[in-house]
């Protein structure tokens, strides 16, 4: 899946809303609750078909990538469905996909020490753990690891999103303390970490 062109002008309204007032409808609305949010649509058929279309797209596109940030996934879904999806609607339906275990969130930390989350599809969970192990080995061997080098090793095809996926692995290791940021593109093995286990004795 490529990055896609800017399709803002071609997007159709998704027809789902998180409040009745957002839908310009005089009659009865169909509704369905997801967690703490209720989605509304003009009819039950529209409600069910749009939910199915968007959640299916979320799952398919997430599975196509080793890992994704939420905003990138929203961008892909928007392009894939040609629908303009309000942020709260997207969050609600992403939550529904996560609720049934199709997608999980993984915690990471940014170069500015801020926590953030990435999304991993259930079909890529094992691969993600394997990649973490490889990244850790490369980091320990190389001392300094450039994101591009990890990307080269794990994603030789270099598709859209693979740079981010490589950087997310290192951001995950940074959260665990097995990597440290030099800058946003370079990571280092924390000096002396391999000897730290002996410090307790």
């Amino acid at each position: 899946m490529g990055s896609g062109r800017n399709m803002t002008s071609d997007l159709q309204e998704c027809g789902l809303a998180t409040s009745r007032s957002e839908l310009d409808a005089s009659g009865q609305l169909a509704e369905k609750r997801f967690g703490g949010t209720t989605l509304y649509a003009p009819s039950i058929d529209e409600l069910e078909s749009r939910i199915q279309q968007i959640t299916s797209s979320i799952e398919t596109l997430c599975a196509n990538h080793a890992s994704l940030g939420r905003n990138n996934l929203a961008f892909l879904v928007r392009n894939h469905t040609a629908l303009s999806i309000p942020r709260r609607v997207f969050g609600c339906l992403l939550g529904a996909v996560m609720r049934v275990g199709s997608i999980d969130q993984v915690c990471c930390v940014s170069v500015n020490h801020r926590p953030f989350r990435i999304l991993v599809h259930r079909s890529r969970t094992h691969e993600f753990q394997q990649h973490l192990g490889i990244a850790r080995q490369l980091l320990q061997r190389s001392v300094v690891l450039y994101v591009g080098e990890l990307r080269e090793r794990l994603f030789p095809v270099k598709g859209w999103g693979t740079w981010s996926s490589a950087s997310y692995l290192l951001a995950r290791l940074a959260l665990l303390g097995t990597a440290a940021y030099i800058d946003s593109k370079n990571f280092t093995w924390p000096k002396g970490l391999e000897y730290a286990v002996g410090a307790a004795h």
């Binding site: 609750r33 997801f34 967690g35 703490g36 939550g95 529904a96 996560m98 609720r99 049934v100 275990g101 199709s102 997608i103 999980d104 969130q105 993984v106 915690c107 926590p115 989350r117 991993v120 599809h121 259930r122 969970t125 959260l175 665990l176 303390g177 097995t178 440290a180 280092t188 093995w189 924390p190 000096k191 002396g192 970490l193 391999e194 730290a196 286990v197 002996g198 410090a199 307790a200 004795h201």
Partner: protein, 282 residues
């Protein structure tokens, strides 16, 4: 015999602390409610089934735990419900659950210490089995417990807390409340509202901390990302009462496999507790 379906990362309360059923065990005593509603121990048998299942989670403001989809819990109205049903329907917040906190215990048992140690491994930067090196979230050691619990080392720009197994066991045996508080101070992050939180794989530490707060006359309110999913478990300590009967706060499944566990017990009038929830027998 009555039985319940769990997974190997479900927390079971005992008079020595929280344990997770890592291995088959025929002579284990866990806490539950008798026919008078009193908390008491009973013998249980734990059998690992061999096959794996996706791990699910259920939480309220007073309880949080890992279960299988097939696990049946009791609602406050006495009706059983399977976790899978709660997840599929998405109506967990309409359900009420009575949470049962851990027992009042003075000393942590070796089994409970082992279970907590195992759960800390998931957050390790590096480990050799006898020592765990964990990235420290907070700077200096404030208490004697923190200073006694483990060494602090600097590696590059990070600080780490190095736990050694023997010191950890000794510290938990001597003063589990102080040890758990020290671990929480070193290992949990704090968000912009002041809530302490950790990744959900470390949830046993949160349960221990809630018990420690309860022993000091304080209360702990658990918080999650959303009703539909949570990557973390948060804990707010308060002096106000937290209602043990609470609406469901989250119910979800994850792609992470866990080993199926069968819990059996002999007394049909006794109801075991798991992660603060009452289990309904199969």
């Amino acid at each position: 015999m009555p039985s319940a379906q769990l997974i190997d990362i479900t927390c079971l309360p005992t008079y020595g602390g929280w344990i997770t059923p890592w291995s088959d065990c025929a002579d284990l005593q866990v806490l539950g409610l008798d026919r008078q509603g009193q908390l008491c121990e009973r013998d249980v048998r734990i059998e690992r089934r061999g096959e794996t299942t996706p791990s699910g989670y259920l939480g309220t403001t007073s309880a949080f735990g890992a279960f299988s989809e097939e696990t049946k819990v009791l609602q406050s109205n006495g009706e059983p419900v399977r976790l899978g049903r709660l997840i599929a329907s998405g109506d967990v917040r309409d359900r009420l659950f009575e949470s049962i906190g851990g027992g009042r215990y003075d000393t942590a048992s070796s089994t409970a210490c082992n279970s907590l140690w195992q759960s800390l491994l998931c957050a390790a930067a590096i480990s050799d089995g006898e020592s765990i090196v964990l990235r420290s979230r907070n700077g200096e050691c404030r208490t004697d417990n923190e200073r006694r619990l483990g060494k602090r080392v600097e590696c590059g720009s990070h600080e780490y807390c190095v736990l050694h197994r023997k010191a950890f066991d000794s510290s938990m045996t001597d003063d589990w409340k102080g040890t758990v508080a020290a671990l929480v101070h070193q290992l949990l992050d704090r968000d912009e509202t002041g809530t302490l939180y950790c990744e959900r794989a470390m949830y046993p530490l949160v349960l221990w901390y809630a018990d420690a707060m309860r022993a000091e006359g304080r209360r702990a309110r658990l918080v999650f990302d959303t009703i539909q999913h949570s990557a973390i478990v948060g804990i707010d300590v308060t002096s106000e009462d937290v209602d043990p009967v609470a609406h469901g706060g989250c119910a979800f499944l994850t792609p992470h496999a866990a080993t199926r566990i069968k819990l059996e017990w002999a007394d049909p009038s006794w109801i075991p507790v798991a992660s603060g929830f009452l289990l309904a027998p199969e």
